[in-house]
């Protein structure tokens, strides 16, 4: 914090570009005042937010399925259903094409998810379509182990969930950035404990939630939530910033009703007075060089 003053200064130049990012106020009873503190999800990513993950490690790929909540049967709202998991896997495979070599072997980390033979086959088929090979299955469920062995994969059954849950103790350190080359369409939903980089557009109705920064090399027209664990220093960057809504830490802003006629690469950040501002990327980096926001 060398110089606080340069930030408001840059913010006021910015406000000519995108002045009308209105804070959202949720309030059932009273007349919502625009000044009230917006209430956004700040509890960050939790166990139930985990998605299908692909991670290279030592020349192979680890495919990690989100854990199955015990409550799924009674409350499907709390975790992904099998068809949602499979769909997410396919989308991730499509979006990561350039990140791995053909014929790489994949270790499936199924944790406590119950998988039958047909489901394992579906995963294997999806991997084959992406020119990857399922070779080994890690599971803590006996039935899954049996199914995997029957289908012909080598199996490692592990009893301790902690062992099977590599992201379990990563509460402090974030994951490495998630890089996706894809157009995220309506309903598409990416959550990541770290920074997310998307080479492509975010269409309206899609959302990205990251505990780090969000970089969209394309048009941002969906919802983006950076610093989802509460870090208000996090940034959202896009070549074209036309979001439905953006959130940084626990601040929320919605897009102006009348979008600007012309678009420049822009950066969204939380200004010292506690509102989300949007600045042209060039001016922002200049201000940052002088003022050193961090």
């Amino acid at each position: 914090m060398t110089s606080d003053t340069s930030v408001p200064a840059s913010a006021s130049t910015i406000s000519d570009v995108a002045p009308e990012i209105a804070p959202i106020v949720l309030d059932l009873e009273g007349n919502a005042s625009t000044e009230a503190t917006p209430e956004a999800p700040a509890e960050g990513l939790q166990e139930r937010d985990l998605q299908v993950r692909l991670k290279s490690e030592g020349g192979k790929l680890l495919l990690m399925l989100p854990p199955e909540m015990e409550t799924e049967a009674e409350n499907p709202a709390s975790s992904l259903t099998w068809s949602e998991v499979l769909q997410q896997l396919k989308q991730r495979l499509n979006a990561g094409e350039r990140l791995w070599l053909a014929d790489t072997s994949v270790h499936l980390i199924a944790r406590d998810r119950l998988l039958d033979g047909r489901q394992l086959q579906a995963i294997a088929d999806a991997l084959t379509d992406a020119q990857l090979r399922l070779t080994r299955v890690y599971t803590s469920r006996r039935q899954t182990a049996v199914a995997a062995a029957t289908t012909g994969y080598s199996v490692e059954q592990q009893s301790s969930i902690a062992q099977l849950n590599p992201s379990g103790e990563s509460a402090q350190a974030m994951e490495e950035p998630l890089y996706l080359q894809t157009t995220l369409r309506s309903g598409g939903d990416v959550r990541h404990d770290g920074t997310v980089i998307i080479l492509g557009d975010l269409n309206p109705g899609s959302s990205v939630v990251a505990t780090g920064d969000i970089l969209i090399w394309g048009r941002l027209r969906g919802t983006a939530h950076a610093g989802a664990k509460g870090n208000a220093q996090c940034l959202i960057m896009a070549l074209q910033m036309e979001p439905n809504q953006i959130r940084i830490a626990d601040f929320v802003a919605r897009a102006p009703e009348n979008p600007p006629a012309q678009h420049y690469p822009e950066v969204a950040y939380v200004a010292p007075q506690g509102t989300i501002r949007i600045a042209r990327a060039l001016e922002f980096s200049r201000a940052q060089a002088v003022g050193d926001r961090k």
């Binding site: 059932l28 949602e84 309903g187 439905n244 809504q245």
Partner: protein, 268 residues
Amino acid sequence: MSRVIVVTSGKGGVGKTTTTANLGMALAKRGRKVIVIDADFGLRNLDLLLGLENRVVYTAVDVLAGQCRLEQALVKDKRYPTLMLLPAAQNRTKDAVKPDQMKQLVNALTKAFNYVLVDCPAGIEMGFQNAIVAAKEALIVTTPEIAAVRDADRVIGLLEANNIKQVRLIINRLRPAMVQANDMMSVADVQEILAIPLIGVVPDDERVIVSTNKGEPLVLSEIPSLAGTAFDNIARRLEGETVEFMDLSVPNDGLLTRLRKMFSTKLF
């Protein structure tokens, strides 16, 4: 005491969401406290039609997953604050919610509102079950087409089986000229098959599409339109008023005269 009304059809794309948005707005205009619930998980539209998309922070699924309180998920309308929206999740599927959970949600809302309108997804699967579970009344939307009417008939049967007795019919996208030329089923043709009380006939009107794209339900428009008036009339009939049905027959004179006639003879 609040009324829980599901807007349903069986067939997709016949105008359920358009109807829900317009009725919700029309009832709010009359000072009623209205909550519209988007039960179309995974393909939500109601927020768009109401122009509230960018205000959605939480959804019904977040409430059920315990990630927020119910009142945090409600979005207040920017024009009529007695109208609120409970949005559906766009990133999940219909299986993310179970009927008894939906029932819980709706029941929690009945205390605070005069009307609970539930926008049902197309189909008769889980999404349909979720949408109707808490409803005491239903509005069946159909277009005057054989397939839509057939599906509506199936749905009426399902509603009866689920003990929803108060079921009324909305015929949407009627084109009087086509009816007159015998190219489209008439109101009477549809009624003959479905045999449930009619609560409204909405003409096909391109201004519906314009208003949809703007996120401003047609009943808000200053300029009167046949479709907008038709939705207003349905709201009034829901409220128990007796409103004569509009004369949609094709007159020789132009639209303006038709409108004037309508306003002088039917509305006032």
